[in-house]
């Protein structure tokens, strides 16, 4: 077991900054998920930690030792870590037992010690009796478990998992998720789990690091990430948050504030350091929104489309006050909302994005946000 410190790591490919001063501190025994859309740099980061590539700035520390810096590079074979690859990377010319035993053989462990440990590793992933099979004779889930056993048999201090569930079907994913969880609890190994699937990350991780465009946006527990996103990108990416322009009118001491949202006064959560601000942004969740009667207080909007999603409709609407701002919410059956119908939306809670100092006058949508489905940033015009 070991602590992993990634300290201002930078990696460039030509003019492209794949990693831009990424810092991450994974404590001993922690399950850390690195979450981001494809191309965000998460796999590049994993390859840096594993040592497959050399970095261009910063350093990486595993346990007590600096393994990567600009001046030194410990090769992967000396890092004593484990990896579960997305493709599993099982050697097709070896049996299951030979695959698992490989790391031990390389380390000079001989029978009967080696056989005992292979047996134990296979038992741990419930694959006893499969030792003599070839990987090609196993199902996807079994291959995954062989890969896991192979990576853990040498008791590495740190295990990296590179989208290990991406190649499995939906049913198998749920059971493998559970398996990873149990596994982590039993071994207490430090784990870094790369994924683009936020449900997976939320279900498994102690903490989640959200990456985008080579930068680390936020590191937080799953609940904190959902409830208190650090900026508009995280808010939009995690749980399809709706980001809207807002004015923070006044702040009380209990982490709540009063916000003016298109003329509607709403009580919202905010960071303790939040100050009143004329131009702030707030993150709303679909669950915070509801259709209210014409006489109640709310924001007028026009329905853009209603999509049936089994038991409820996902209703997307455009606010009348500021064109371009799209919101979405769940509306229970029965619901007769044709596109174009006028509705009034009530809002009971939200989160003021703690972007102090970042935005002052301009809240123009970032191009990356507007392209993401559901990630609709506020716009003044």
């Amino acid at each position: 077991m070991a602590r992993l410190i990634v300290d201002r790591v930078t990696k460039t490919f030509g003019a492209f900054r794949a990693l831009d001063e990424v810092s991450l501190d994974v404590s001993d025994g922690e399950f850390m998920a690195i979450l981001g859309p494809s191309g965000c740099g998460k796999t590049t980061l994993l390859r840096q930690i594993a040592g497959f590539d050399k970095l261009d700035g910063g350093r990486i520390v595993i346990g007590e030792a600096v393994v990567s810096s600009v001046t030194q590079h410990v090769p992967p074979e000396r890092r004593r870590i484990g990896i579960v690859f997305q493709s599993y990377a099982l050697w097709p010319h070896m049996t299951v037992a030979e695959n698992v035993a490989y790391g031990l053989t390389v380390a000079g462990v001989r029978d009967p010690e080696r056989a005992r440990r292979v047996e134990a590793a296979l038992a741990l992933v419930e694959l006893r009796g499969y030792a003599e099979r070839r990987p090609s004779m196993l199902s996807g889930g079994q291959r995954q478990r062989v890969a896991l056993a192979r990576c853990l048999v040498t008791e590495p201090s740190l295990v990296l998992l590179d989208e290990p569930l991406a190649n499995l079907d939906v049913h198998l994913r749920a059971s493998m998720e559970e398996e990873f969880s149990r596994f982590h609890a039993r071994t207490g190994t430090t784990m870094v789990y790369i994924t683009h699937d936020q449900a997976e990350a939320m279900a498994l991780a102690d903490r989640i690091a959200v990456m985008d465009s080579g930068r680390l946006l936020q590191v937080a527990t799953p609940s904190q990430l959902y409830r208190e996103p650090a900026d508009a990108t995280v808010a939009a990416f995690i749980g399809e948050g709706i980001v809207v322009p807002a004015e923070v009118v006044d702040v009380d001491r209990n982490g709540r504030c009063r916000v003016d949202l298109f003329g509607l006064s709403v009580s919202m959560r905010c960071a303790p350091a939040q100050r009143p601000a004329r131009k702030a942004r707030a993150c709303l969740r679909a669950g915070n929104l509801a259709i209210v009667g014409a006489d109640a207080s709310g924001i007028d909007a026009r329905v853009v489309r209603a999509v049936y999603q089994g038991g409820h409709f996902r209703v997307e609407a455009q606010l009348d006050h500021a064109d371009g701002v799209l919101v979405h919410m769940a509306v229970a059956e029965p619901c007769q909302l044709a596109p174009g119908s006028a509705i009034r939306i009530g809002i009971d809670d939200g989160w003021v994005l703690p972007e102090i100092g970042k935005i002052v006058d301009s809240i123009a949508p970032e191009s990356a946000d507007s392209r993401r489905p559901g990630g609709v940033a506020g716009a003044d015009g």
């Binding site: 594993a50 030194q72 090769p75 992967p76 097709p92 490989y102 390389v106 192979r150």
Partner: protein, 567 residues
């Protein structure tokens, strides 16, 4: 501790890399550089005497002209046959495709001198076959193949499979949708062939033409068997005659001749490179199998035509060769009574040089195949996965000894090894080792290409997983990578073995007494007028070649697109 971590790994990788760089440099860079040096500075002193005397000699230009005429003619014939067959086999629904491809590609794998010998036995006044059916020309008349036309005909037959193979590889990558779009637009199959397929196939076709031209230019066996008797000399046979007649004293002169033929070949390669640059010829596994065009009522006629072609270019010459190997002496008619195995007895058990040649050719080819594969696996690793820039440059250089005509490399090898090696004091010249050097240099690329293809098809995480498990490079190469590229490496080794086993061009110039190869002995039998012995020995090499090719059809995993005779 942190400062020293990984130094062993780095040292091991650096050492391996430099060993590979040294091997490639010694095999390709050194001989070619030495040859160019000899061209401008014969005997180590700068002089244009050899250069001007060779370039002002009428013989040189006659041979160069003959080389160009036969190479162009041979290429034209090969393209005509190869392209037609590629279109028919690649695009239509003929039956028995695999058997036909095997037979059609066979001449490429058989030694050119054996092909020449077989055709000589087919025509001419002493043809056993023609005698049997009473069609033999009168005794004393000239064999029609002893002519420029004969050389062109045989070059065309020998290298038609080269055009066929490059074009067929191109046809395999042709997306089905493009043809279906043409059909949907109302075009007839022949219109689609003319307006869609052939334009798209221009790059592989031109690449095939260039490859064929360079092969024809460098061919030694065919012009040696057909041209020397009629004193129709091309550059390779001119070089051979000079060197065989006058010995190493004319080295500077033949070095200039080699540079000349090399220069002509480089023009051909340059053309090919120009076309290859526009396309990526790596094997793609995603290409959909194209649905063949239905020939309908024309199908039997086309099939019969293809098999007649096979009989004419393959079966008849080989039958003629077989029959000639069974008569007691050239010119004696073959009857049940006169048929004899004595020629085989003689070359297998009595003739000392022939017996030695079997052992030499077998061990030289096998050694070359094994050494080349052992070099190719780590070399391709650095080329494909590590993208070592230094090796990429060397890889281009490594192509040269194979791309250039064989005589060029042979002369270069003589120049390098004529004097005893410095430091060691060993003389390789006039030993079997200089032939081995020639084979290693010339055929390295043959073994390397399939292995490179193998790496492109491998998932690199298989190696990374072993790296994470703590295995250093040499162990990963031995326990993970070698087993995974083994099918491709085996195919490469087999190609090297068969090519070296049937080779004459390099050993004709490098052999010495005691270090004869099969090609050399067949050649000297024929030159000495012992055509029945030559035929028997040639039949044996054909039998070994066909047996090895057939064995790949029966065993092992198919390494698609590597072995040319597999469909």
């Amino acid at each position: 501790m942190a400062d020293t971590a990984g130094w062993r790994e780095r040292a091991e990788e650096t050492a391996l890399l430099w060993v590979l760089v040294a091997i490639v440099a010694i095999l390709s860079l050194l001989p070619l550089a030495r040859l160019l040096f000899e061209g401008v500075a014969p005997g180590g002193r700068f002089s244009t005497a050899a250069l001007s005397s060779v370039l002002s000699s009428a013989t040189t230009w006659t041979a160069a002209q003959h080389s160009l005429v036969t190479a162009c003619g041979g290429t034209a014939l090969a393209v005509l046959i190869g392209a037609t067959v590629a279109v028919l086999v690649g695009l239509t629904d003929i039956r028995g495709r695999n058997a036909f491809v095997f037979c059609f590609v066979l001449p490429l794998m058989i030694a050119p001198q054996v092909v020449a010998l077989a055709w000589l036995q087919l025509f001419g006044p002493s043809s056993t076959l023609l005698k049997m059916i009473g069609l033999a020309p009168a005794m004393g008349s000239r064999n029609p193949l002893y002519s420029a036309e004969g050389i062109v005909l045989l070059l065309g037959v020998q290298y038609a499979p080269l055009v066929f193979l490059t074009l067929r590889a191109g046809l395999r990558t042709l997306p089905q949708e493009l043809l279906e779009a043409g059909l949907a637009a109302g075009a007839k199959p022949l219109t689609i062939l003319r307006t869609i397929i052939l334009p798209l196939m221009t790059p592989p076709l031109v690449a095939g033409i260039a490859l064929c031209f360079v092969s024809c230019l460098g061919n030694f066996g065919i012009p040696a068997f057909l041209g020397i008797p009629g004193n129709y000399l091309v550059l390779p046979t001119l070089i051979y005659q000079r060197l065989a007649g006058l010995g190493p004293s004319v080295l500077s002169e033949v070095a200039v001749l080699s540079c000349l033929i090399g220069f002509i070949a480089v023009l051909g390669i340059f053309l090919q490179d120009l076309m290859l640059r526009r396309r990526d010829f790596r094997i793609t596994t995603t290409s959909n199998a194209m649905r063949p065009f239905e020939l309908a009522r024309w199908r039997p006629a086309v099939e019969i035509a293809l098999w007649i072609l096979t009989i004419v270019v393959l079966v008849l010459p080989l039958v003629a060769l077989l029959l000639s190997s069974l008569v007691p002496a050239a010119g004696v008619p073959l009857t049940v009574k006169s048929a004899t195995w004595s020629n085989y007895d003689y070359v297998l058990f009595d003739h000392a040089a022939a017996k030695r040649a079997f052992i030499n050719s077998f061990s030289l080819s096998a050694t070359a195949a094994i050494v080349i594969v052992l070099v190719a696996v780590p070399l391709a690793y650095f080329l494909v996965w590590r993208r070592s820039r230094l090796l990429r440059v060397l890889n281009l250089v490594a192509e040269m000894p194979y791309a250039l005509p064989g005589v060029v490399l042979a002369i270069a090898a003589i120049l390098v090894f004529l004097k005893p090696l410095p430091v060691f004091g060993l003389t390789l010249y006039n030993t079997v080792w200089i032939i081995l050097f020639g084979y290693l240099a010339r055929f390295l690329v043959l073994g390397l290409r399939p292995v490179i293809g193998g790496y492109y098809q491998l998932d690199r995480t298989l190696e990374e997983a072993a790296q994470i498990a703590g295995a250093r490079l040499l162990r990963r190469l031995a326990t993970i990578i070698l087993p995974l590229v083994a099918p491709m490496a085996t195919a490469g080794a087999l190609l090297v073995f068969l090519t070296a086993f049937n080779e004459l061009t390099v050993s004709a110039l490098l052999w010495s007494s005691g270090a004869e190869t099969l090609g050399v002995v067949v050649f000297s039998f024929q030159q000495g007028g012992d055509s029945t012995y030559a035929a028997a020995l040639a039949m044996l090499t054909v039998a070994v070649t066909i047996a090895l090719m057939l064995s790949t059809l029966l065993t092992g995993k198919p390494a698609r697109g590597v072995l040319p005779w597999r469909g």
